[in-house]
Symmetry: C2
Subunit: 679 residues, 2 copies
């Protein structure tokens, strides 16, 4: 009987999955809601549209409704008579919620949304749920040639995980308030609810301290947030239903701390300085000194009131303890306290920090290195290491949950690795692991991490988006929503709508290319950039010393993005040919690239675009030969040889990018060799 | 003898002018410096480049130097070993100045700049002068295929006028801090030195008041600047050598003030509300009440400390006094105080305000309506009215100076009128008027005014730039620098460099077109937008009621700009043909437009792009007929008739834009009629 029930459940899941999938071909919702039902009718958008709020005053709902109206008028061109929500009146869009929620980890974000011909009803337990419904509603806007409308649907929705975060590292490259705000907007549009603010690292302290003013005077290059600015960002996030978790990374990653206060360092007479390179560095706080704890207690006491959320991140990662090993008094201290390893010493440090934070009403969170045998389970484990760091697949997440820690997954969501969206989308946090209810509840969710060694305000949006939208779906939607092709289709629309929202991930690519070409016609460069991707997994900055923080990130690689759009299309078209399908699309691409090279050749050259010339030339050469072969159904031995020789060159990275159509070109060449007559 | 000297001076001016003009064909400097000499040699930019500062500490120079290094590395791709200026050491770029200046109207902004093979020397009286030199230096960066360099020059420079301003109206549409900061950056790059911040108007109060919190609670829609944000902007501007002049517009333009504090109004029982339309409205402060002055004195006392500059703008414009006429007690008051007209009453108000401001150490400035016979000459007259407002050509500027007022010119620099850059560039503030030294000194300079009724954060940069760069030249450079063709050539480069600096005037046009087309290929729309200009001189918003503040400004007209680029080229090419020149460029344009229409026709239509169809179709029709005529040197009567009929349609505004090639098309048609055989 048990088996039968299980079978029925499995079947229901399959049926459910299927129904949602056919709908997801129709609607471009992301993250896909828990349950969508389509029905007849449509709500037509005209100037008489109003939103009425029929509950307690909620700044969040008022703001989200106003924002909805602005975006709706901008998307449709329909001039609304009433530009603000009305209260407790009958409106076309009718919002009701039970309570104004304090923003914390227990928030109820569920909602239902019903669209009929004459009314749209949003109903939610909390005001935050109501704002999530408005995000969904905006994604439903559709049109024909004559009008904009919202199709008849009933949606009931709630998130799979309570923690759906994005971390932004503002130390390696400072990110101005405007960058943060527009990314918060984007997060909210994807129903993400945690902004993890990585505020300190070797390359700079980005938070004002009135208690320790040298932190920013000596260790920020003047680039930091004032208390007022932080309050402003936190309030902005709260209005969007996004919690803000600050990170003060200790005891490692401490070059900037020790530039300001060298007396807290583990190595005497060391010339601490703001780090300009990338990587893991030796400067570390000294965990054996009382002044270290006084410093941290005072600092935390000063800044914790700026962050109302209960969780507080202390980093704790990548401390290799080199300076500890080199310091005799630290060695003595370890012996005296029976601390055998540096891990034990760091745990000693973490436990003291946790007490300090608890006094301030905060819960300590740290990267998974803090999960040592003596660490109390009141700490929260941020799981970041996995196979790449020598751990088992899935990393430390499940282990942490089983040991009794609350835990958040970032392994698999390191978007700075510049991998395909598919690599992240297919990371299933729990998989088939069997967990007790308590264990499952301790798995809070996940966070995409935007480390900014190679990322500036000009490029950050294109590094975060649109990939993070797919990650947001992984965190919000049922596990069964995992069709890649369908995700890609929806992501394309979402990406465009993120630009509409104010993100710069599309438009700044052209800005970089215009700059590179000294304002010449960028059409050929843009096409090339749609075939190239920045080197992945830290290959762009080998050993962290190819780039300094103040090097240029206004280069060809910065105009390129992951999931290069034309490459995707071309690679797919080639696989069609190889399977015996049509080849028109392929010839079109090949012709474009050989023409593009002619256009490129006519550009006035400068030292920035010159390095692309051989790449472009070789691409054009191979394209011409293959195009000719496809058109004539003949290919010569010489041509095949030329293609093979050139392919070797095309595989070489150039200007920190790789051409991601080389395999497809190779397949095409093999296809020609096998199928066409060889002269 | 006097005549001979005059003759020599005139000749020298002519020779001087000529020499500068030939250099200005070579270098893309804007505003053009007072004196440029070219000489042999070039300073090559490589990774060893350093900037040394050899004077007192100046945050302005340190910041400008760092900013220079960042922009240099981004423009050239050269990775610098040293990313920050060094102090008192020998550097490739050597900066010296005599004093760190307090920012006020008396600033000395002169500098000299000498570029040799191995060193660049910047010398200035003040730190602000040194930052002006760095702005020039960045414009000199040149390249060949192998390297970037700065050509050998000696420049000595100083401004013609001490007041070179940009006003931004943040009331009609709120402009976030990031918008202001990037525009301040742009201003500094054009050596402008006054940001006039129009903070209040009928549509909203944008400055926080702790004394009168209802101002923002009830009259801002939540869109305003806190004191901290204002201090941040003022500090940011100071670092760039830009003074900030706040404007609190009274007694008219007071709808928002009176929404918050109706008791200060001139009309009893009036339902004051934030204004959503544009225009001149009746709500006016009551100048006969003591509480009005108490209110303003308290408000000014609260906010004047935020603005260190001596000048304070009280608006004072466009008060038609309707509500004064309708209020019996105001009528009585006028009689009692012998105030015959409403102008007299407003002067009474202004004089009281001036005393309040003087107590706070401020100089009162107001729009030129405040210049009434009884107004003390200690006030500063902001001249905005001219021929369009029924005054003599040149407006009130000269008159004000002659009467003893300091004065600033904005007549002719209303960039919200969406006129050609030429219309502003050719406004000569003083002309041939003979002035005494004292009168000339009272003419402080000018201000471009960005009124924002139809301007949002998405479009503001394209409404200000690049035209304001040419206005900045008018304010800085010698009068003799006035060659339009040469200005246009330099402006094109400057415009591109403003994008490099972070301005959005170029990239946001594509954003709007992508949004309009629902993310389809925008090539055809972009080409069309390069032939169209938004309706000028307030024709876009007749009577101020076609648009509300919350209507969409994400429309085709918002993607179009003045001085439409392809239209300029086409119009010029046609005038060449008419003169008997070559016609290849023209046929190319005509062919593009008829092909573009085919592309456009294939787009999936929506209500936003559909209205463009007839315009595009008619353009394609005329283009095809004219192209055929030019190619065959024949044209039929039917074709000529069709062209003439279609031209009537093309002259009609569509979607708030006008096609600005209609006259050229007409000329071309006439040319064909006159020169080709008619079948």
């Amino acid at each position: 009987m048990k088996k039968l029930i299980l079978l029925i459940i499995i079947n229901l899941t399959a049926v459910f999955g299927f129904a949602q999938e056919s709908l997801s071909a129709k609607y471009n919702l992301m993250p896909w809601p828990k349950k969508v039902q389509a029905h007849n009718g449509k709500f037509v958008i005209d100037s008489s549209l109003t939103i009425s709020i029929n509950s307690k005053k909620s700044e969040r709902v008022y703001h989200a409704s106003t924002h909805f109206l602005r975006r709706l008028t901008d998307r449709t061109g329909v001039f609304l008579n009433e530009g603000f929500p009305i209260e407790n009146k009958k409106g076309g869009i009718h919002i009701q919620f039970d309570e104004v929620s304090k923003l914390d980890i227990k928030n109820n974000e569920s909602y239902t949304l019903t669209v009929n011909d004459s009314t749209i009803k949003i109903s939610a337990k909390t005001d935050i749920g109501a704002t999530r419904a408005l995000a969904t509603l905006l994604q439903l806007v559709d049109h024909n040639t004559k009008e904009y409308f919202i199709p008849g649907v009933t949606i009931s929705d709630e998130p799979r995980f309570v923690w759906r975060g994005l971390m932004i590292d503002v130390s390696r490259h400072f990110q101005p308030i405007a960058v943060l705000k527009r990314n918060l907007d984007a997060m909210a549009s994807m129903k993400m609810n945690v902004f993890h603010w990585h505020l300190t690292d070797d390359q700079g302290i980005r938070i004002e301290s009135k208690t320790y003013p040298k932190l920013t005077a000596l260790a920020s290059d003047g680039l930091f947030y004032t208390h007022e600015q932080i309050k402003d960002v936190v309030a902005y996030a709260d209005r969007l239903g996004i919690r803000v978790i600050p990170e003060i990374d200790v005891p490692g990653h401490a070059s900037a701390f020790l530039t300001a206060y060298p007396e807290l360092g583990s190595k005497d007479d060391y010339d601490y300085a703001i780090e300009r390179f990338s990587g893991v560095f030796d400067p570390t706080l000294n965990p054996t000194l009382d002044i270290t704890y006084t410093f941290l207690e005072n600092l935390f006491a000063e800044i914790t009131p700026l962050f109302p959320d209960e969780y507080f991140h202390i980093g704790g990662d990548e401390n290799e303890g080199k300076h500890w090993d080199e310091n005799k008094s630290i060695q003595k201290f370890k012996k005296k306290h029976g601390l055998k390893t540096n891990h034990d010493l760091q745990t000693y440090f973490n436990v003291k920090l946790e007490k300090i934070l608890n006094k301030q009403g905060k819960k300590l969170m740290g990267w998974d290195e803090i999960m040592t045998p003596d660490m109390p389970t009141t700490a929260v484990i941020h799981s970041w290491r996995g196979e790449n760091e020598g751990l088992a697949k899935g990393g430390t997440l499940i282990e942490a949950a089983k040991q009794g820690y609350q835990t958040v997954l970032s392994n698999g969501f390191y978007i700075d690795r510049m991998q395909s969206v598919v690599d992240h989308y297919t990371v299933e946090p729990i998989g088939d692991v069997k967990l007790t209810k308590a264990e499952r509840e301790r798995i809070l969710g996940g966070e995409a991490t935007m480390w900014c060694e190679l990322v500036t305000p000009l490029t950050i949006d294109s590094r975060i988006w649109p990939r993070t939208a797919a990650i947001a779906e992984r965190f919000w939607s049922p596990k069964e929503i995992n069709n890649i092709e369908n995700m890609r289709k929806r992501l394309k629309v979402v990406s465009f709508q993120l630009e509409e929202l104010g993100l710069t991930h599309i438009k700044n690519r052209a800005v970089i290319l215009r700059s590179m070409s000294n304002n010449q016609d960028i059409a050929s460069l843009l096409n090339l950039s749609n075939l190239c991707e920045p080197l992945k997994i830290y290959a762009r900055n080998v050993d962290g010393i190819e780039y300094k923080t103040y090097s240029s990130f206004n280069l060809f690689a910065d105009a390129c993005v992951t999931d290069a759009s034309d490459a995707l299309k071309f690679n797919e078209a080639v696989s069609e040919i190889v399977k015996g399908g049509d080849n028109l699309g392929v010839i079109g691409f090949l012709t474009t690239w050989s023409n593009d090279y002619k256009t490129f050749s006519q550009l006035e050259k400068n030292p920035k675009i010159r390095p692309l010339q051989p790449l472009f030339k070789n691409l054009a050469l191979v394209s011409e030969l293959l195009s000719k072969a496809l058109q004539t159904k003949k290919i010569s031995k010489e041509s095949l040889q030329t293609i093979q020789n050139t392919m070797i060159l095309l595989r070489e990275p150039v200007a920190d990018v790789e051409l991601v159509i080389v395999d497809a070109l190779n397949d095409l060449s093999s296809y020609c060799e096998s199928n066409y007559s060889i002269k």
